[in-house]
C-alpha cells in the first residue's frame, strides 16, 4: 500500500507492506539515525517523534503513519547539536550506541517540561537503556542542556 507522510518537514510517498513498522519504513527511506536495538519495544533506541511525540518506531505500524508528521534526528539537528555538546562535556556516553534514541527523547522532554527535576528526567528517560554510561552522566548532561536552553541558548 502507498503511504504519504511528512518526514522532517518534507512530504514523502512510500510503498509499505501491511506488517511493516515505522522503523522499517524510515530505513527504507534512507534515514540512518534510527536504529533498532531490541525490536521488542524495550530499549528506546528506535525513538522518533510522531506528530511531535516520541514513540518507538519499531512498534508503530507503518500504515498508521499516513498523513502524520514524522521527525527523526536528521530533522532536529540544531536542537540536537547543543544537547550533543552537553553529553560530551559531561562524559555522558561511551560507545554512543544509545545516543540517537536518548537525544530524541531528551529533546521531547525539554519541550514538554523545560524545568524538569532530576526525578522527572529519570522518569521520562527510563525507557532509554544504555549499557555503558550508568545514566548519571546522562542526567547531568540533560540538566546542563535544560539550564543552557533556559538561558536562551540553542534556539534555532
Amino acid at each position: 500500500m502507498t503511504v504519504e507522510l511528512t518526514l522532517n518537514g518534507r512530504p514523502v510517498r512510500a510503498q509499505v507492506e501491511a506488517d511493516d513498522s515505522l522503523y522499517t519504513l524510515l530505513r527504507a527511506l534512507g534515514v540512518r539515525s534510527v536504529k533498532c536495538g531490541c525490536e521488542t519495544s524495550s530499549c528506546g533506541l528506535c525513538t522518533v517523534h510522531l506528530d511531535g511525540q516520541p514513540v518507538l518506531s519499531c512498534s508503530v505500524p507503518a500504515p498508521r503513519c499516513a498523513g502524520r508528521a514524522v521527525t527523526t534526528l536528521e530533522g532536529l539537528q540544531s536542537e540536537a547539536r547543543l544537547l550533543g555538546e552537553c553529553l560530551a562535556d559531561e562524559g555522558a556516553e561511551q560507545c554512543g550506541f544509545c545516543a540517537s534514541g536518548l537525544i530524541m527523547n531528551a529533546l521531547a522532554l525539554a519541550r514538554e517540561n523545560p524545568s524538569a527535576t532530576d526525578e522527572e528526567i529519570d522518569a521520562y528517560l527510563a525507557g532509554n537503556l544504555c549499557r555503558c554510561s550508568g545514566y548519571v552522566g546522562q542526567r547531568r548532561a540533560i540538566r546542563r542542556y535544560l539550564s543552557r536552553i533556559a538561558s536562551g541558548e540553542g534556539r534555532a
Partner: protein, 257 residues
Amino acid sequence: MASFSEYVFPETIEEAYALNQKRSSVIVAGNMWLRMCGLRKKTAIDLSRLGLDGITEEGDAFTLGAMATLRDLETHPALAREYGGAFGEALSPIVGTQFRRTATVGGSVYSRFGFSDVSALLLALDARVLLHARGETPLRDYQREPWDRDVVLGVRIPKGRRAAARSVRLCSTDLPLLVCAASLGPDGLRLALGARPGRAMIVAEGLPADADEAAFAAIARDVPLGGNRRASEDYRRRVAPVLMARAAAAVRGEERA
C-alpha cells in the same frame, strides 16, 4: 514477529467487529505486544481512527476509551485528582514513556496478561469492560473468561474511591514479579493482585479501612499464587502481605513511598 497481508482502517465499530469475526483477522491497538507474538494473519484491523481514544468524566464514573494510551491515563489531571495519583503510580513503572504513549488500555484489558499492572489497578477500582456485542460486563468476570472475538470499546470506572498500587520488579522497566492494587471507598478496602503470575484477581473486599498486617498475612496464605522463571511461589507468598500493607497504607494516606 506478527505478519499480515492486508491492513485495514474500518470506518465504523460495526465494520471492525464484523472483520474481527474471521479467524484470519486480528485487531491492532498499540501493537506493542501483538507485533512480538508471531501471529500470521491475513487482515490487521486498525482501531486508531474510530475515536476510541477519549477519557471522559460523566456523573459518577470515568470512561476510558479502548485506544486511550497508558500515558494518557497516567497524565490525566482529573483521573489523578479522583484516584489520588494511582494511575501515575501504577503505570509509570511500565517500560518507558515512549512505550506508554502507544500501549493502550484496550489492548491491556483484552489480553488479560498474567503480569498486568493495568488490570490489577482496574480491578481494585471495580472497572466494567464495555464490549461492542456483549455490552457492559464486570472486569472481575471478564478476567476469568477465554479470549473471544468481541471488540473492547473501553472501560468504565466508578468514582468515589482512593486507590494506590505497589509492585516489585527485579529491575526498573522490567515486568513485575507481583503487583498489589488497593482501593478504599465507603464499603471498605479492596485488594487486587497481579503477576501472581496468573491473571490479576480481586483477593479481598470489604476489609475494614484499618486492616492490619495479620489480616494481610491471612489473605496471603490462601491466595492462589504460583512460581515461574521470575519468582517462586514461596517468594510471592512472602512478598504479598508486604505489598498489601504498603498499598493499604498508601490509600489511607499514611505513606506514598
